[in-house]
């Protein structure tokens, strides 16, 4: 089977100085800035190779700062690699930070439209699915008022509903298996499991090892920007647990 995502020798570097210099400073002292750019940086990913085949669910585990979220952002394309190649052959549906594309001052309905289109649908398709999205999210009449009035749970529920109604082909999930109350958590988890069983390729980043075990057939363990272990989920989890225990 063909690869949905193929990553070759991926490196990602961030400058360590995160304070932003002023333009006036920059103009006055250009050589200084260019030089500083060269020496202080941090490698978030160091030569990663990953291939995910169609219909696979790949788990990504590891300690905080291991490079998991950076990896997802790079695959999604909101970050660019410093070195290396990423090839993606399917439409991506990110479930990273739910509701990231929402604007607080417009209504739920207006946000559904924009986010549906951002996630790959056409406007008319979103309109067709509007009722399904609203009913799945269980936010009811709140859909016609600005989302800044929503509770955190409602906000997340709406965002999740939009995402799963955009015909996902390739899911990128970062720690979102706790959407809303327990009832909705169960519902959303079931939906994701159904999508995976239905053949949707998935990368699941999570600290919830039970969920990884349940959903992923293969897992990689990222530590310090490098792949420490890779293979069958059970074995990788075992090694991971032994190591941190």
């Amino acid at each position: 089977m063909s690869y949905v995502v193929k990553i070759d020798d991926l490196w990602k570097r961030f400058p360590l100085r995160r304070d932003r210099p002023g333009f006036k400073e920059f103009i006055v002292n250009i050589p200084h800035f260019l030089q500083r750019n060269q020496d202080s940086h941090f490698w978030a990913l160091k030569g990663i190779n990953i291939g995910v085949k169609e219909g696979e669910c790949l788990g990504v585990i590891g300690r905080n700062g291991g490079g998991k979220s950076t990896l997802l952002s790079l695959i999604l394309g909101t970050m660019y690699p410093t070195k290396g190649n990423i090839k993606v052959s399917k439409k991506m549906t990110p479930l990273l930070e739910l509701g990231a594309g929402f604007h607080p001052d417009i209504t739920g309905r207006e946000n559904i439209l924009i986010n549906g289109v951002l996630l790959g649908l056409m406007r008319d398709e979103v309109i067709d699915r509007m009722d399904d999205i609203i009913s799945y999210s269980e936010i009811g009449d709140f859909v016609d008022i600005p989302v800044r009035t929503y509770s955190t749970g409602m906000y997340l529920r709406l965002a999740f509903s939009i995402a799963i109604y955009t015909d996902p082909e390739f899911l990128l999930i970062d720690e979102i298996l706790s959407v809303g109350d327990e009832f909705f958590q169960k519902k959303s988890k079931n939906t994701i499991i159904q999508l995976i069983k239905g053949g949707v390729t998935t990368i699941l980043v999570s600290h919830n090892l039970a969920a990884v075990k349940e959903m992923c057939n293969r897992t990689i363990w990222l530590d310090n920007g490098e792949i420490t272990a890779e293979g069958e989920t059970e074995k990788v989890l075992e090694e991971y647990l032994r190591n941190i225990g």
Binding site: F14, P15, R20, P21, G22, F23, K24, F26, S73, L76, G77, T78, M79, Y80, M92, P94, L96, E97, A100, G101, H103, D105, I106, E110, L113, I114, V117, L118, G120, L121, M122, R123
Partner: protein, 258 residues
Amino acid sequence: MDIIDREVKRKKDLLLLLTKKEVTLKYKRTVLGILWSLLNPLLLGLVLFIAFTIFLRFHMENYTFFLLSALFPWTWFSTSVTISSGTLIANIQLVKKVRFPRYFLVLATVLTHLVNFLFSLPVIIALAYYYGKGPSIIWLLGIPILIVVQFMATTGICLMVSILNAYFRDMEYIIAVFVNLLFWMTPIVYPLDMVPAAYRLYLAINPLTYLITAWRDIFMSSAIRWGNIGISWLVSLVFLSFGILLFQKLGKRLDEVI
């Protein structure tokens, strides 16, 4: 081919929705909202009118019309540039977490203020009518051409400004000062032929001089001067190309600085 068609249509949908969002936010769903946004250039016009014709006793025929016919297009330009310097930062969540063409944010800003400009056209038509200067059929040709030219130039500059501001936080303030300077370096409140010949060269290197003059030619004398329009068009092409290049180049490292 089908997939490409679909993507093109989807991108169009996205751009329209983003613009509609900004327009909605700007006007806050009120009818008065449109009037409020016209109030800005109108008040500026009033202040300039009082300062120049009453305090400084500057006399010129149809000065109100003269002023506003340049002030409205100028407002489209200056507001777009000022607002777009903060566009990427204001939409930081979208930029960081969602994959879509980021220049759409800038385009949406320029389009939103184009809508604003279109709302000001009735005022200009009323003035033209009042002063017996038109409107004429030439407007139907001239206005769309100038809108395209100004749209290209403004978008180019907005692309540069927005991406530079992501790298250098003080860019916003520099831009504000620069826009203010540009306002006085462009023949908006004074006619070009009143400027002493020795200084006219400085105005001649300002591309906005040609654009604003072209707007005024159409509104006040229903004239299309192809020379001015040609120069404006060439300059806007340069700005647009450079804007796209810079935005693309610096955009690749945006995730590291924003």
